[in-house]
């Protein structure tokens, strides 16, 4: 158990270092932040001052080592555009994004598994085919179109749900949440549907394929031969095996969800990290961009670390393999 955890931890750190390196070195090439801060009618002298203050005149490796040292301490520097500690900005925006991603992931997984299991068991039923066609439409619809459609229908035409923002939020000190107020919950509905639809279809298709395969294995046939009831076979035997890849996909898709929240947050004006990031891209705000990349990678690595550990408990085959070694 220990060596298993340790090995994975080591890998996680390795990945993080590479990402940090990539994040910094890549962003180091992008644009000149001075212009984005000073505007078109600033004097040249003013530009030079700003350049000096930001340390942009230093060689790249000094900038990088400075960056790396700071990152370890949670210091991502100061936003070129917003002129605030990036760590503060991220801390401020993170709850919004994580709430959105969390609710979307939950939605995607729960609905995805239920529908996936249904379509996997009832392979050729009419409802299954409808679910599948709809799910494919979900994959084929770009996120931004879904968002625009939802806003147009539910906000502009029906006027029942808000088209932007988080609504009323409650500050718990370390976290601001929209889950405790009516308007906060209402504001969450459209963005989370928009964000989860794409992932949900993935989960549906994955679970379906997995269920279909499992239902043809020998051990399911053997269970049938033992007279085990069909429902128990479907929902106990097959489902448990079928859920294993869902755990994997959850790990991978969290990263995707966070990335796609860039689009959702743009369309819904959701005050999260994605909106912060896309703004940063427009303004070539390197500290925010690199912080965002590192945060996304960190969350991804963390979740996958948890997934690996979860595997250890769920799948006895891995446990045994590791214990032997």
């Amino acid at each position: 158990m220990f060596s298993y955890t340790f090995k994975r931890l080591l890998q996680a750190i390795l990945v993080m270092v590479v990402v940090a390196f990539v994040s910094f070195s890549l962003f180091n090439f992008v644009g000149d932040p001075v212009n984005s801060m000073t505007g078109e009618d600033a004097s040249d002298q003013r530009r030079d001052e700003v350049r000096e203050v930001l340390g942009l005149n230093d060689p790249v490796y000094i900038q990088f080592s400075r960056f790396l040292g700071n990152v370890v301490q949670g210091d991502f520097g100061i936003s070129y555009q917003l002129k605030r500690e990036v760590s503060d900005l991220v801390a401020e925006r993170m709850p919004a994004t994580l709430e959105l991603v969390f609710v979307s992931a939950l939605l995607a997984i729960i609905l995805g598994v239920i529908l996936g299991v249904y379509t996997g068991i009832h392979r050729d039923s009419f409802i299954s085919n409808i679910i599948l066609v709809i799910s494919l439409a979900g994959v084929s619809l770009p996120t931004f179109i879904i968002g625009i459609m939802l806003i147009y229908f539910f906000s502009v035409i029906l006027g029942v749900l808000p088209s932007f923002g988080r609504g009323e939020v409650t500050d718990l000190g370390f976290w601001t949440t929209g889950l405790l107020t009516n308007s906060g919950l209402k504001a969450l509905i459209l963005p989370s549907i928009t964000l989860s639809l794409f992932q949900m279809t993935y989960v549906i298709r994955l679970v379906r394929a997995e269920m279909m395969e499992i239902l043809q294995t020998d051990y399911i046939k053997f269970a049938k031969a033992r007279g085990i009831k069909t429902n128990i076979i479907n929902y106990k035997h097959a489902l448990k095996n079928g859920l294993i890849p869902v755990i994997t996909i959850t790990g991978i898709n969290i990263g995707t969800l966070i990335a796609f929240s860039i689009i959702t947050e743009t369309v819904f004006q959701w005050p999260g990290m994605g909106a912060l990031f896309i703004n940063a891209v427009y303004f070539v705000d390197i500290p925010i961009m690199s912080a965002y990349m590192i945060m996304v990678a960190f969350i991804f690595v963390l979740i996958n670390f948890i997934v690996d550990i979860t595997y250890y408990f769920i799948d006895p085959r891995i446990r045994l393999k590791e214990e032997k070694g």
Partner: protein, 524 residues
């Protein structure tokens, strides 16, 4: 545990039953104020927010006329000395009274680095409190536009600033911050009671304001920045916001025709134009090598005649623009209706001119364009490209975000290549043509990126900077315009129009700088 539950419950109840105020405006624009420190950033949206909370000695009125505010009256005692008499009985939001030393402190604070207002009031040498209600301002020689400049200088409480460690402004560019950046204590009609930057700012009516409370009937203003145009429009349509001072032109018609909404518009002090590099030996992106087509006035003129600005006004701007013949807005000293008359749209003449200049088959080059700076900037460029194509000039578009765009115009791209042709907009905060010359036409002008150079113009620009005889000075301005217009130094496009939309029960007066003055706003 019990305590936690009760806290959560009360928070919940607060959330659900947050009181709805009778007269409130939910206001939205694409961006937010960068800082509440009134001197840390000289930037539009920042002033828009500050203006509701802070006040200056004088202020621009609804029609940009200069009105007394904290100063009741003033007099210029000599060429370089101004004396302001302060209004009495004015208090800050924290209850302290306004004195002359607060005013002197604020002006001095604004002209001390790292304040961002330093450039604006460079000419102010000193500000001193003569007594509790009199302030003396000394300038560096005569300054005809001092009052104009002072409209942008907001007055803070000296005691409050010192107590909170913001005696001087802070270096916003370097990422510093201060108490005054996230808190405000002004004398204005509204005070800020909640602020989450870029998300939500709440202004509440200041009941102790000195001014006429009946020019507005608001209890509260909520600022909800929405960057995306379509989302902002949707929010107004769905009633989530009441008012926005930035409306995409194509949606104006919808709000206009809607019984539930009102639209207002007025010309803006900003002119959009194309610059053509006429000074370089060769264009970077052109297929013509060894010479610069734009060096030939006929080519520049041909480009001018190719532009159908009425079509652009009609289709791209939905009527929300004033085609321009001069790159300075109406109302600016030096602007005349005659100069603002465009040369006719005449592609045939263009072709003829090109042929005369030796380019019967046209040529090719790249146009640099911002895509998030001016109203429909990118669309204007695309439309212009198809117009240029009709006279045989193949223009490739390179549209990008404003920061990159300005950087590339100013300093060239990553490879040091300067722009051959670009779009730019210019506003004249001083309402005087000299401002335009010194940046755009003077050989050494920092934004003269078309490399226009004319000895006479340089001479005139230098002279008008010190000329105090208004008549003489105006003659110089006129002569300079004659030369530059005749040279077709730039291709003027149009003057932008400011517009705003609101629910029909919301009345916010429109101003040419797009800045709302909520003290004149009403909810019916």
């Amino acid at each position: 545990m019990k305590k936690t539950i009760s806290i959560v419950l009360s928070l919940l109840l607060m959330g659900i039953f947050s009181p709805a105020l009778a007269n409130s405006i939910k206001w939205s624009m694409p961006g937010d104020s960068l800082t509440l420190d009134p001197h840390a950033q000289n930037e539009g949206p920042t002033h828009m927010v500050s203006r509701q909370v802070y006040e200056g000695l004088v202020t621009p009125g609804i029609n940009m006329e200069i009105l007394p505010q904290l100063a009741e009256s003033w007099v210029a005692t000599s060429d370089d000395t101004w004396v302001f008499n302060l209004r009495r009985g004015v208090t800050f939001h924290d209850g302290s009274s306004l004195t002359a030393s607060d005013v002197a402190f604020s002006i001095n604070r604004a002209k001390t680095a790292p304040s961002d207002m330093v450039d604006l009031i460079k000419s102010v040498k000193s500000a001193t409190a003569i007594d509790d209600h009199t302030v003396e301002v000394k300038t560096d020689g005569p300054n005809p536009i001092l009052l104009n400049q002072l409209t942008q200088i907001f007055v803070m409480s000296e005691a409050w600033a010192k107590a909170n460690g913001c005696e001087v402004s802070y270096n916003w560019d370097a990422g510093e911050t201060s108490y005054c950046a996230s808190n405000a204590n002004g004398t204005g009609p509204f005070e800020i009671t909640f602020r989450e930057q870029d998300v939500r700012t709440v202004f509440t009516k200041n009941n102790n304001w000195w001014g006429n409370h009946y020019t507005h009937n608001l209890d509260q203003i909520e600022l909800l920045p929405i960057k995306n145009d379509a989302t902002r429009v949707a929010a107004l349509l769905s009633g989530e916001i009441d008012y926005t001072n930035v409306v995409p032109v194509q949606d104006l018609e919808r709000f206009k025709s809607s019984a539930g909404h009102v639209v207002k518009m007025t010309p803006q002090n900003r002119t959009i134009f194309f610059g053509m590099d006429q000074g370089s030996a060769e264009l970077n992106s052109s297929n013509i090598k060894g010479k610069n087509p734009f060096a030939d006035r006929r080519v520049r003129l041909a480009m001018y005649h190719a532009l159908d600005m009425d079509a652009i006004k009609d289709k791209v701007m939905r009527g929300q623009s004033v085609p321009a013949g001069i790159i300075t807005a109406p109302g600016v000293n030096g602007h005349t209706a005659a100069r603002d008359q465009r040369l006719p749209y005449d592609p045939e003449l263009s072709k003829q001119l090109l042929a005369e200049a030796g380019y019967p088959d046209g040529f090719e080059l790249t146009l640099d364009c911002p895509n998030d700076r001016y109203i429909n900037d990118e669309a204007i460029c695309v439309a212009a490209i198809s117009m240029f194509a009709k006279i045989g000039v193949t223009v490739n578009l390179d549209a990008k975000t404003k920061s990159q765009h300005f950087s590339e115009i100013k300093e060239g791209d990553a490879n040091g290549m300067t722009s051959d042709m670009y779009m730019l907009g210019w506003g004249v905060p001083t309402f005087d043509s000299h401002y335009v010359y010194s940046y755009l036409f003077e050989s050494s002008g920092s934004w003269n990126k078309v490399n226009f150079s004319d000895a006479r113009v340089d001479e005139l620009v230098a002279a008008m900077g010190v000329e105090t005889n208004l008549e003489k000075r105006n003659a110089m301005i006129a002569e300079a315009w004659d030369i530059t217009q005749d040279n077709v130094a730039y291709l003027p496009l149009h003057h932008q129009v400011v517009n705003q939309a609101a629910k029909s029960n919301v009345d916010v007066p429109i101003r040419m700088n797009n800045e709302p003055l909520f003290r004149f706003a009403n909810v019916n």
